[in-house]
Symmetry: D2
Subunit: 473 residues, 4 copies
């Protein structure tokens, strides 16, 4: 009879959020709350490691932070330092074996690591390590990090971490935990964010600053691209062990991934989105009666667009709060069922209106097409789709889950063809120049729009999952 | 160590949503999806009864619709007619025993009922029935309905339902299911909504119309106050078995309960909320830099307020998508922790600004107080709180979960005192006249604001829960 | 691919065990442990009701007692009196709705009941009650009891219970709990056991005495057939409200149902089984090398048989401790797979031997057939099956789950034909006279062997489940 | 209020059972059933790895086999070869991270291993491997095996396995699975059992033979001590890569661990136990009325004792079938509560009798003491305890979970003192000579009785768990 439909967003997805604590009596509890505030960066597994009396303790679970950790679990994670991780699973199945932090024993003792990003030389490094006798328990690129540390001949954990990281390339915001110290690192390009906070005597680390707000803690600063920060009983020290390169913060963090209440590298995500909307209005105005966003991510850009155009802003689409991962479909085919589950039209707002609909990006185009049809069914007279970023044409190799090039509609179709496919009355994207102008400076990675990859990607490093032989469940 | 905090909204809560299907091959599946679209009316239990080959089948579960029903469950609910129910549990604990539909055997066969509302003469009716030998399995007022039906001497289910309903008072939108027919009723005042839809040959019934949108079904009309609709194999018939009284649709459905994409009794909920916001601006203007809503319910009123005042509208508070029912608190007391979990400030929007903050209602005032403090902590220069309804002063006896009078801050404090308690710079409510003027006509129950109860409430019928002796778990 | 096999015993099954406590600070905890010791009488649901400050509290769960109750559950069941129930579900599906105790509100307050037995005039009583306006929530015959109590005009719970019980026929060992008293009753024939124990100041009631051993409590006496015992704050009182009839204790309790460490109505179950085995040896001797039991129920009879015949006794079949309710079968058909899961042969014991195999009963014969084949596969030279009870020919209407007559192999086949079907070398049953002689006296119900039903059974009362219309899940 | 009591046996515990399949269309299903029949060797985790199209697939679960694997799970484990493992967790907490099979990627591809036994040079090997850069994910000694394989420079999996095993000492019955072959090994002493079976074209491997019975497969032979068997598409080959040493099969397998229906190295476990009982009677006769076993493990020895003494054999203690891992205790202290939950006395058998009670071993003595008291409470006149093995004085380092020496009552007390502690009227153990005479030959490890360890145990290798730093959960 009926089958199930998945309700996954048509969006690029961040693969991880990381959080660390050093020096708090309730390190695990802080990590739990910090991870909760980073939940948008990964919903499929959550883990916390703590250091207590010379040992590391670890708890990993599938699912949301709020469901994965109980008071009992936190009680079993004593210690004054902790690192945590939330993960967006890229493959079809979610496996506990791929969850992080990864915690192992090696020659110097125990170490745990939480990684946000992606190592582009993962496969060649793995093969080199296997030749030297290493065994791999997971298909995670992050596992090479602990092997490299284990193979280092350096005498301290910090020096081993440095030596290991000098052998990998790509995107990495990392937190390492040993029984005695917490080490935070951001790759030289600074692809992924990482911030430092303070709560009384404790140092906190988080992918994004709102985690500090939740804990009533103070935002201190970003970890700088290429910086390695060590916190131990003697306080916080900072190192720059990599050759300096150009800053290449992921620009998609501003477009979609990060929380709107985050400020990353000094730029407010909410304000950036509004400016994208304003620039979009300047570049791609439309004759219309009102502006509506695709909630929630399109809201600030739509507000900016409406302001710039001096058009009314309304919520013409309501997003359901009760969407889970899968849904049982009705047998009788209902058009655009998946979109209906997630979004529903406010007919009184839409009826007879010429709409500007603002979204942050288009991936495959099928969802946009369904939304356009749903809006017309609800009475919209015209639908002008405006996208607050340039066409998404290239896959990301720096820690974002993107479909293959062939699935990215803008890789193969011109904008006019996309407009035709989506059946919108007009379609306009923000230009790459407009994007950069809005956010200021050019220290951003925009490879998904331009194909200009700041770190070389080898062909054989790309389709990682197919090359691996072990399927852990 | 740490304890848990609950994250319940400070809001009045609707106690139920109901959905019915007659004449579809996939009645249970439609009911499942219909209930999902009514999930905002009750998140704590869900149930579906179907009629199949002369029998009724029933499935009840605690939790959300999406989590409660599997393909296997739906497969075990065959039949061409179904009724379903979602419930907001009013007591501290949720009990399966109180879940609906209620399904029983009686002299004429089997019958099931799903109820949205509250019977004000429940306790006296229960006592009368107990004197006649009835036994009660639950503390639900709805259980008296099946007893009254069972005690009737009428020879058809429809006539028994009519006779039973003539003995109860209060608010009831009801769906009855027997092996042969589906009966939908709305009390003479029409306190709670109930709509009729059509999908091919099937008749559908729903508390609110967006359920029809999800199923790509057609909205036909409301069930009229005092109307009893019977659907069986010969089609749909309509009766008016009650003495006519004045229409008294619950005005709070427009203020907060109903979905913004609903149109109830011909009035768009979204538009009503915007008009409340505009009227509020006229009555209670404020010198400010921008208008922000308490998301999500305050959004349309805030848009209306901003439009009327010609002030910018921004999202200064972000609502978390990942809030569950309880959370483990940190040990170190974090100020306003419960509110922080749910809402977080966008500092770049708020900093240095004079804010108008629009919310739909104030119940106890403690949450509003915390929000005001959180906004000031985030840099707001002034916080002017505007409420898009009059002060909530009286409990509801017609199917809404309200705290006792003593907990309603507006019952004991004047507006100036509330303003002081909340620590806002100014506080303004929409007037009762403004409310009615905005929505048009006066066919609404506004007892929670005025204390003018359309249906008499006996003192001993009020604190129901304490009088009952049985705690089923 | 593979399907599942169920591992249900081929045995008659008792439908319930009941336990009660009056006057203990830890009534719920005692009930939990008492029910655990009665777990063999019903494994599919468990429930406890307690009385606390004028209210009844109830917890019902599917599954085993050890899995169903947590410390948290017991904490939520305060009170100094309790009744509990374990149930063997007779239908394919187990439903919480059928679990006991049944607890309801009625005119005098709250009452709960736990029932072991079966009411033979259930359907006619139900129809009479429905005509008077009663509604039924379950398909359990026990539900009529609370309706009859509710319809009584007597002024005390005790008198209402008496009046109700005078209207029902059949088998009932019952425990009623009200906020003030505990009432224990055994039907006039005394079909099912019920015992009284004492632990300090608390009175205990249990289907079988080993529950008292577990609690280090004292066995006082049986509740007499036809006796009604009331315990309240003034102590224990005894009434005999029924016309006296002949004692008819279920003889199958001694053959299979009861625990071997029970003594019921003064007769040790273990000793009775051994005497059945000795009498069986006298009536049905066999030329053999050794005697083996079908474990565990056949053990004492096999010991008796071996003693009488002066043959060695060995464990030639080992019973698995890890059998659950269902198992995934291999695709490749494995002969007698279901039996292999449960029993495995000890080849060194069996090889080359002429065996007497002692079992307590044969129901359908298919399991016996598989066991005989398994024994021959393991090298047995001859297999002489001996059954320590007469042929099971008639269904039970007094609280035991038996297959329909057509499924009872001894209903349609003569012993020689059964022997042929089972492929044993010889087959011998204990005679009805031998059975009675072994246990002494004739105050036993042996209707399953003789068809002589002590309480009349109406034809339309038999296939209850088909007549009911409601399937609660 | 109440706390929980654990119901763990007072017994030594085997740490693992292993099962393998090569060449069956339903390898995973066979492994599932084979593991079920080995469930007595480990109840706390279960795992199966299969090889399919060049990949290994793995499923691990905590709990019993019957609960851990569903049809869906088996469907996700396709392939024609499989290995499986059940594990008895030695530490307080059970961790999925310690479950087996261990499956990893290394230079030659993927490999999985299931281990029964214990490596006595684990810690020194681990330290050596860590110095060479290995990282450890678990505290399991078995993990060193995959590291040694990964570090080998040999070009085939078989040669690498050989090289790895030549570096470890201790007890190991092992199954390795690669995409192309299954490798079975038994250490040179043959401490733990391992058998080969055949089902049509498939080769099977199992710790004990009854697994073959369940699958209607044929027992072929034991894997010989020191033998390495490779099965691949060209059939079964056998190697003997270790220097030959004296056979040292664990004698406790016959006393307690193995199933009574097993035949190991040609000796029937059931018959061995009966012979222990007969020899015990010869060495330690007692004036008594009857012999009772501590069920279930003491049954065959008690039968042998009773036969030898020509005394009646009875079941004076009944073992509960419904014991789980923990139980909620009553608040009021009940004497010997833990034992009461597990065993209950049959008063009619025990009352007034002089008993010989036969058990297989005494570990701490506290349970024996409680049993003696329970028997006296039930009326026993005298209690003569007889143990069908010598005093257990030394810990096992070869794969059995034993308490530390200080907890072994026979390490510090003489037999007369133990008798006094246990409060038995007399206490007799089987002598070491009697033990060996009963079973024939002396190719057995009896280190737990004699302290004569066949493989050297280094002091620093003993308290392994304390030295490890990582606690994975």
């Amino acid at each position: 009879m009926s089958s199930t439909t998945t309700t996954k967003d048509e969006h690029f997805h961040d693969q991880c959020g990381i959080f660390g604590v050093y020096g708090s009596e309730e390190a695990a509890n802080f990590a739990y709350l910090g991870l909760h505030s980073l939940q948008h960066r990964g919903q499929e597994s959550a883990g916390i490691a703590t250091a207590n009396h010379g040992r590391l303790l670890l708890h990993l679970e599938l699912g949301l932070v709020r469901d994965s950790f109980t008071e009992e679990t936190l009680r079993r994670l004593p210690g004054r330092s902790a690192i945590g991780h939330v993960r967006y699973s890229t493959a079809g199945e979610t496996r506990l074996r791929e969850a992080q932090p990864i915690a192992v024993d090696y020659a110097l003792g125990s170490i745990a690591v939480a990684h946000n990003g992606n190592l582009t030389n993962y496969l060649e490094t793995k093969q080199r390590l296997e030749s030297a006798g290493s065994i791999f328990h997971s298909t995670s690129d992050s596992e090479v990090l602990v092997h490299l540390i284990a193979h280092s001949k350096e005498q301290t954990a910090v020096n081993r971490v440095v030596e290991a990281l000098q052998q990998v390339r790509g995107a990495f915001s990392l937190l390492f935990l040993t029984p005695n110290e917490l080490i935070a690192v951001r790759d030289p390009h600074g692809f992924r964010p990482l911030c430092i906070g303070r709560s009384r005597n404790a140092y906190l680390f988080s992918s994004e600053p709102p985690a500090f707000d939740l804990l009533a803690a103070e935002f201190l600063r970003e970890v700088e691209p290429g910086e390695l920060v060590v916190v131990d009983k003697s306080g916080l020290r900072s190192f720059f062990p990599f050759a300096p390169v150009k800053r290449k913060m992921c620009i998609f963090e501003y477009i979609y991934f990060a929380r709107p209440d985050s400020t990353l590298d000094g730029v407010s995500v909410y304000e950036a989105r509004k400016r994208f909307g304003r620039a979009l209005a300047q570049e791609q105005p439309a004759q219309a009666d009102l502006v509506i966003p695709i909630p929630d991510s399109g809201v600030p850009a739509a507000l900016g667009y409406a302001e710039q155009m001096n058009l009314p802003f309304e919520f013409g689409l309501i997003r359901s709060h009760y969407i889970g991962r899968t849904f049982i479909e009705p047998e009788s085919s209902i058009r655009h069922f998946g979109v209906r589950l997630k979004l529903s039209p406010v007919r009184s707002v839409l009826n007879g209106k010429r709409l500007v609909v603002v979204d942050d990006s288009i991936i495959r185009g099928t969802t946009s097409q369904k939304i356009v049809k749903m809006l017309r069914d609800a009475g919209a007279r015209e639908v002008h789709l405006r996208i607050s970023s340039p066409p998404s044409r290239w896959p990301c190799y720096y820690g974002i889950d993107t479909p293959s090039t062939s699935e990215l509609i803008a890789s193969s179709l011109a904008i006019a063809e996309i407009n035709k496919f989506i059946t919108s009355d007009s379609l306009g994207y923000l230009s790459i120049e407009g994007l950069h102008r809005s956010i200021g400076g050019n220290g951003y990675c925009d490879a998904c729009f331009t194909g200009e990859y700041p770190v070389e990607v080898r062909k054989n490093d790309i389709p990682q999952r197919q090359q691996l032989k072990l399927i852990g469940i």
